[in-house]
Point group: C2
Chain length 366, copies 2
C-alpha cells in the first residue's frame, strides 16, 4: 500500500460490513457508516467486524458512525454499498461534507446511478471537486452472519467501473486497485448502466413466477424451474429492448446470452438453452416473497431508467413497460413515478450528443 | 315439445357432442357438424352419441356431417359450440346457406362474438333474416370420454343470452327454452360480452404463473395456489378496466367479486378473500401447458376487444395491454393483430350512441 487510502463505506448491510472488514484486514483505515444506528450497534461495541469465508479474521475499523459528516471526512474513497433506491438520499446527505479529490463509487450503480448522484450534487451546489463513479456489480457474494460478523462466500474477479466523465475512470481504477485489484475500467457510465443484466432477469422472473413465489414462499429452483422456454422468450424481449435503448445512446450493450457465455461459459442457441447450460444457476432458490429487491430495487432503478431513456429517444419498450406496470400493481406502488426517470438523472430533453459529451467527454465542472 | 325445432350443432368437441346428444335425447332432431371429418367419424358410424353423467343413454342424431350447407339446412336454431377463435370462420362458411327465421347462438360469445358474426354476415351480403345471439357461458361442464361418447358433469341452471338487436332476445329465449329452459334473457350483447369473467381470471392467472405451469406441467392448485394476494391485485386491476370500458358503453358490468358472490356464494372484502372463500375452486389443477385456450382464446377474443373498445372510447387499459403483450411474447404471436378489434366487430369509429342503437334499439336489417 503506497498511500494509506482511507475508505468510507456507506451502508452496513451484507455488502458493506464485508467490504469494510475486507479493506480493514488489508490494513486500510475504514469508516463504516449506517443511517440507522441499530445496524452498527454491535460493530461499534466490538470496534470492527469478524470475517469468515474467503478471508478470515477480526478487522478493526477506524470509525463506526451514523454521522455522515464524520464518515465522509478525510476519506479518499467513498464506497456506497446500499440498494440503488438509497443512492439519492445518501448523495443528498453527504453533499455538504464532500472534499476536493474524493471519489464516490456506487457498488453497484444499477442503471443511471452515477448520473443521478452527480445530478444531486449539482442540484445541491456541491463545490468540492469529487469524482462520481459506478461499478457494474458488487465485488463479493457476502452475508452478515451474526452481530459484527460477516461471511465472504466469493470474490468476483472482474468488476467494471466507470466515472463521469469517462477520462476520470483511469484515476478511479488506479486508486481502487491499491486495495481492490479486481476493478477494471469500463468505457463509460452508459456502458456500466446498460450492461445491467439483473434488470433483465430479476423482475421478469419474479413477476412471471409471482403466484408460485407467494404460494410456496420461494420453495423452488429459481432459475432452472422459474425460467421455462416461454418465460425465456420474455427475458429475450426485455433484453432486446435494453440493448436497443443502449444502441440509441451509441452504446453496444452486451446481450444476456453473451453475458452468460462470458460470465459462466454457458452457451446455447437461445437464452433458454444458455440458462439450462449454466450449472451456476442450479440450486438457487427463489426469493421467499415478491416484496424483494428483485422488484423493489430492479424495477425503479433499472427498468424505469431504461424505459425512460427509451421514451425520450423514441425507442419503444413495451415489454419493460408491461413489467413495470405489473410490478406496480403487485406492490401497490407507482414505480414509474418512484423510479429513475431521465428527469431524476438530469438528462431530460438532452440530445444523445449532449448526454455523450457530459458522460464521455466533458471536463467535469461540479 | 310443441314444435319439432331442428338444432344444428356446429362443433363436435367436448361441448358440441354433449349438447347434440342432450337435445337428441330430449327428442329434438339434431344435425352435428364438424369441420374436420375425423372428429365425427365414430359418431357418424354409430349414428349418435352415448351420453353419461347427468343424463344417460344413446342419443341418435338426425345428421352427422362435415358439410356446412347440409348442417345448416332446415335448422331453426344453429348452436355454435367452438372456441371464439373459430366464430369468424364458421360465420363465413355458413353465410351462403342461411335461411329466413334462423337463430344463430354462440355458446358462448366471449367478448364481441355476436357483433363479429353479425358483421361477417353483413360483409358477406347475407340476405336471409337471421338472428344472431350470444350466450354468456356454456350450458354444461362436459367432456368427450371416448369415441361417440360424452359425459355431462354438470348442467348450469342459468345461461344469460342476448340477441342483436336486444328486442329479439325474447324470441331467442322463447325458442331455446322449448329445449333448454336454462336460458334467460340478458339486457343486450354488450352485457353478455362485458360480463365475461373468464377474461379477468384466465389470462392473468396463466401469465402470472407461467413459470410454474411450464415447469410443473400444471401440477398445482390453479385457483387456490395460483391466486395469491398480489396476483389478486392484478386480477382486480384487470377487472376494474373491464368494468370501466363497459361503463363507457353505458353498461353496468358485474365485478368479479360480485360474480363470485352470485355464482358461488363466495364473499370477501376483496377479490383475494372471496376467491379463498370459494370451495368450488379447490382441487382444480392448472392447465398442463401455457398453450391453452385460457390464453389462445381468452386473450384475442376477450381481452383484445375490451382493450380495443377502451382505446376507441378513451378509457385506458394498461393492465390488459400489458397482459396481451406478454401473452403475445409467450406464444410468439401478435394477439393484438389476431384479436377482435373494433374493426373486426364492425364498430370502428362509431359513437357510443351509434353502437347502442345498433345493439339495443335498431330494427335488424341484415
Amino acid at each position: 500500500m503506497s498511500e494509506q487510502i482511507t475508505f468510507a463505506i456507506l451502508g452496513a448491510g451484507h455488502g458493506g460490513q464485508a467490504l469494510a472488514g475486507y479493506l480493514a484486514l488489508k490494513g486500510f483505515p475504514v469508516h463504516l457508516f449506517n443511517r440507522s444506528p441499530e445496524r452498527i450497534g454491535s460493530v461499534k461495541i466490538m470496534g470492527g467486524v469478524q470475517l469468515e469465508g474467503e478471508i478470515q479474521g477480526f478487522a478493526p475499523l477506524k470509525l463506526v458512525t451514523s454521522d455522515i459528516g464524520e464518515a465522509v471526512k478525510g476519506a479518499k474513497v467513498i464506497m456506497v454499498v446500499v440498494p440503488a433506491t438509497g443512492h439519492r438520499f445518501l448523495a443528498e446527505i453527504m453533499s455538504p461534507y464532500l472534499e476536493d479529490g474524493q471519489i464516490v463509487v456506487l457498488n453497484p450503480g444499477r442503471t443511471g446511478g452515477a448520473l443521478e448522484v452527480k445530478h444531486v450534487f449539482q442540484e445541491r451546489g456541491v463545490k468540492a471537486e469529487v469524482i462520481v463513479a459506478e461499478a457494474q456489480t458488487f465485488i463479493f457474494a457476502s452475508r452478515v452472519t451474526g452481530p459484527a460478523q460477516a461471511r465472504i462466500f466469493r470474490i468476483k474477479n472482474s468488476i467494471p467501473v466507470a466515472a463521469i466523465p469517462a477520462y476520470k475512470t483511469v484515476e478511479v481504477v488506479r486508486t481502487l486497485r491499491q486495495a481492490l485489484p479486481q476493478f477494471v475500467p469500463e468505457d463509460n457510465v452508459l456502458k456500466t448502466s446498460f450492461n445491467n443484466i439483473g434488470a433483465v432477469f430479476h423482475p421478469t422472473l419474479t413477476i412471471l413466477n409471482a403466484g408460485r413465489i407467494e404460494s410456496t414462499h420461494g420453495e423452488f429452483d429459481y432459475y432452472m424451474e422459474g425460467i421455462t422456454p416461454s418465460v425465456a422468450l420474455i427475458l429475450e424481449a426485455v433484453d432486446q429492448e435494453r440493448v436497443k435503448v443502449a444502441e440509441a445512446l451509441g452504446v453496444r450493450a452486451v446481450t444476456a446470452r453473451e453475458w452468460l457465455y462470458s460470465a459462466y461459459d454457458a452457451y446455447g442457441r437461445n437464452l433458454y438453452e444458455a440458462i439450462q447450460n449454466n450449472p451456476g444457476y442450479r440450486g438457487i432458490k427463489a426469493p421467499s416473497t415478491i416484496f424483494h429487491r428483485y422488484i423493489t430495487e430492479d424495477v425503479p432503478m433499472s427498468l424505469v431508467p431504461i424505459a425512460s431513456f427509451g421514451k425520450m429517444l423514441g425507442v419503444p419498450t413495451p415489454t419493460i413497460d408491461a413489467l413495470i406496470h405489473l410490478a406496480s400493481l403487485l406492490h401497490g406502488r407507482n414505480y414509474f413515478l418512484e423510479g429513475r426517470t431521465v428527469e431524476k438523472l438530469g438528462v431530460a430533453g438532452m440530445s444523445v450528443k449532449e448526454i455523450r459529451e457530459m458522460v464521455v467527454v466533458e471536463e467535469e465542472k461540479l
